[in-house]
Amino acid sequence: MRARTLDISALTCPLTWVRTKLELERMAPGETLEVRCSQGEALEQVPRSAREAGHAVSVDGTTIRIVRG
């Protein structure tokens, strides 16, 4: 199954996490979301927020892969 993708590279906090969170809410547990973001705050904050919300997270460059918990 292809992962869902979301581009938050043009957004700033808190919309970066809000957009990611709303997308995750629409997914089933185990589904993967690939989030494209830009260097900086979002790349630090979004993985942390996703982990705190109970999802599995890996980061590759500026792509954040989140498996819904």
Partner: protein, 281 residues
């Protein structure tokens, strides 16, 4: 599509989906929730970002119809916060006009509003705050005669009145119609807040069976603006809890707040089987 027609569209969609579900012999997959618009996501981002608050909570609030009884010291923060949070339809009810002596505590009214009907003054500010919602001003005094008609069809009532007669009338009407209610009162530097789920938790009359004989009115006894602001803010928070379920409300009792000593006391109250307002609900 305008926001109002959009809201109507979603209501219609929900009823179509509901009837389709009833008609279907096979269980159908859950219909996807309607999307929030980009503007809504940005406007409500600071509440959407909360772990407890997601699209479902926001949509529940957007779809809600709430009646705020009184556009004064409590009604101002209540209506402002509910409009800000995106409550889709807010009725604001008050039959008074703005007076100079109101302005120290009634945040919806400004000096040029003196003489203007409070309901209209309030509605104008609320529409400025959030043009995506519907605000309906009512220049009416809530009493035992009209309370049932006023609360009918509401998802929630927030009683921000300053008289015991109105509180008991609103409580009785909400119990009979099973409309959740947030009660409150403030005087001096203290106040109380109580959420009521009729038929499930203690109602206002369960907690206060009779009106206190020496109850002063605001005109006789002073109130500090920020004290009313605290109590009204607590009331608004209770309203959002009841509308979304994001946190348990202050039910089966009330919160007694003494702002002179900064003491918050949770007082328990139980349902009364012989309560004339909710005993049969």
């Amino acid at each position: 599509m305008t926001d109002n027609s959009r809201r109507g569209f979603f209501r219609e969609l929900a009823s179509v989906v509901a009837s389709a579900r009833e008609a279907a012999t096979e269980p159908e997959p859950e219909a996807p929730p309607p999307d929030l618009t980009d503007a809504e996501i940005e406007r409500y981002s600071r509440q959407l970002v909360l772990p407890e608050w997601g699209a479902a909570a926001q949509l529940a609030v957007n779809e809600a119809s709430v009646l705020v009884i009184g556009a004064g010291a409590l009604g101002a923060p209540v209506a402002l916060y509910l409009a800000g949070a995106g409550v889709g339809r807010i009725g604001i009810l008050d039959d008074d006009a703005v007076e100079l002596s109101n302005l120290h505590r009634q945040l919806l009214h400004f000096t040029p509003d003196v003489g203007v009907a409070k309901a209209e003054s309030a509605a104008a500010k609320l529409r400025y705050l959030n043009p995506d919602i519907v605000v309906e001003p009512y220049q009416v005094h809530a009493d035992a005669e009209n309370a049932a008609a006023l609360v009918e069809g509401q998802d929630l009532v927030v009683d921000c009145s300053d008289s015991f007669a109105t509180r008991y009338a609103v409580n009785a009407a909400c119990c009979a119609a099973r409309v959740p209610l947030v009660e409150a009162g403030v005087l001096g530097m203290s106040g109380l807040v109580m959420s009521i789920k009729p038929g499930r938790t203690a109602c206002y009359r369960c907690a206060f069976p009779v009106e206190p004989l020496d109850a002063p009115r605001c005109a006789d006894a002073g109130v500090l603006g920020p004290a009313a602001g605290v109590i009204g803010s607590l009331q608004a928070l209770e309203a959002l809890k009841l509308l979304t379920g994001v946190a348990p409300p202050i039910a089966d009792g009330f919160l007694q707040v003494d702002l002179a000593t900064a003491e918050f006391l949770r007082v328990h109250a139980s349902r009364r089987a012989d309560c004339p307002d909710c005993g049969d609900v």
